[in-house]
Amino acid sequence: MICGVIRPLWLRVGIWIVNIFLYVLPVFLESSGGPRAQAQGNNESVLAFRAVASVLTSPRCLNCHTSADGPLQGDDNHPHAMNVKRGAEGKGSAALRCRACHQTENAKFLHGPPGAADWQLPPASTPMAWKGLTTGQICRALKDPAKNGNRSLQDLIPHMETSLVRWAWNPGPGRTLPPLSHEEFVSRLKEWIDSGAACPE
């Protein structure tokens, strides 16, 4: 007799239950965000942030997101002519405000002052300086309300829609654009936030 062993009913039911746990549970865990899914989600989030960071570290952003006490200029991030200072609020010094030269739109001639509404640097208390940081350090700084101007992750999105940030994609003659379109930049930012806002090491 090959199949001579007749298991009692309670044992057969027990085996079924164990099989269910062995085969069904992993599938359930995977579909509900188990460790492997989480790792994959983190990877996607990190990839999204790397795309975001490629814009944050472009000259159009870095020239004001600097740890220096004044803005930078040009694609080589050289110090702003005239020794312009940040000022406590990021709007220039007492009698040399950013608005002395920067209007609400770009000057039409080559190397004329660029302009947008609310032209300014980040304030001295939270300079949000990206220059010299690794992508991971930028990511963690961007998430930290103590360093990002007391913004939640969701608050970052409207900031990226301001006319000042949008200026980076309309910088006037002689200035390079960020590597992504504005639409793609905001889309990748949302993707990063929605996927858990993971940061590279």
């Binding site: 020794n83 010094s93 007492a94 009698a95 608005r99 002395a100 030269c101 209007q103 000057a107 002052p113």
Partner: protein, 156 residues
């Protein structure tokens, strides 16, 4: 052409002008206020500095539409009788050499003293760094600003 209204040195003015015209040309060509000078035309030298609502601005890159309903002050409006502390200090120290940049220098200095009556050398450097003087009168400018600051404090 559009009608643009603003105030210059306390008087209301109304101009038929292209709103993109630099304020400098509206002041010099249409209003005859030639104390404000054209230097570089690119906001690089400060010779065209005037004040809008008390803040120093470069009139060569400020479109006239940006000053609609605003208060513009030029060197002619600093005072009617040379009594402004900056004017008195400039005369006492004999700051100018050729004088071309001086209206802009004085408007910048007056804007500084309006917000800081006791500026340090560093404050002066920060505020005046955008006003160039090819004659090199910077030392006298700084000295005159300190003197004007003393006069301003003494008036109170």
């Amino acid at each position: 052409m559009e009608t643009t209204r603003f105030r210059v040195n306390g008087k209301s003015v109304e101009l038929q002008i292209d709103p993109q015209t630099p304020l400098l040309w509206a002041l010099r060509e249409q209003l005859g206020l030639t104390g404000t000078k054209f230097g570089c035309g690119m906001a690089l030298c400060g010779a065209c500095t005037v004040q809008v609502n008390g803040n120093a601005v470069r009139s060569c890159v400020t479109p006239v539409r940006a000053v609609r309903d605003q208060q513009v002050t030029t060197i002619e409006g600093l005072s009617s009788d040379r009594s402004h502390p900056v004017q008195r200090a400039w005369l006492q120290i004999q700051v100018p050499q050729c004088g071309y940049c001086q209206p802009g220098q004085m408007m910048g200095a007056a804007a500084l003293l309006a917000v800081n009556e006791n500026p340090s050398d560093s404050d002066i450097d920060d505020a005046m760094a955008g006003n160039l003087c090819r004659c090199g009168t910077y030392a006298r400018i700084r000295k005159a600003i300190h003197l004007a600051a003393e006069m301003t404090r003494g008036q109170k």
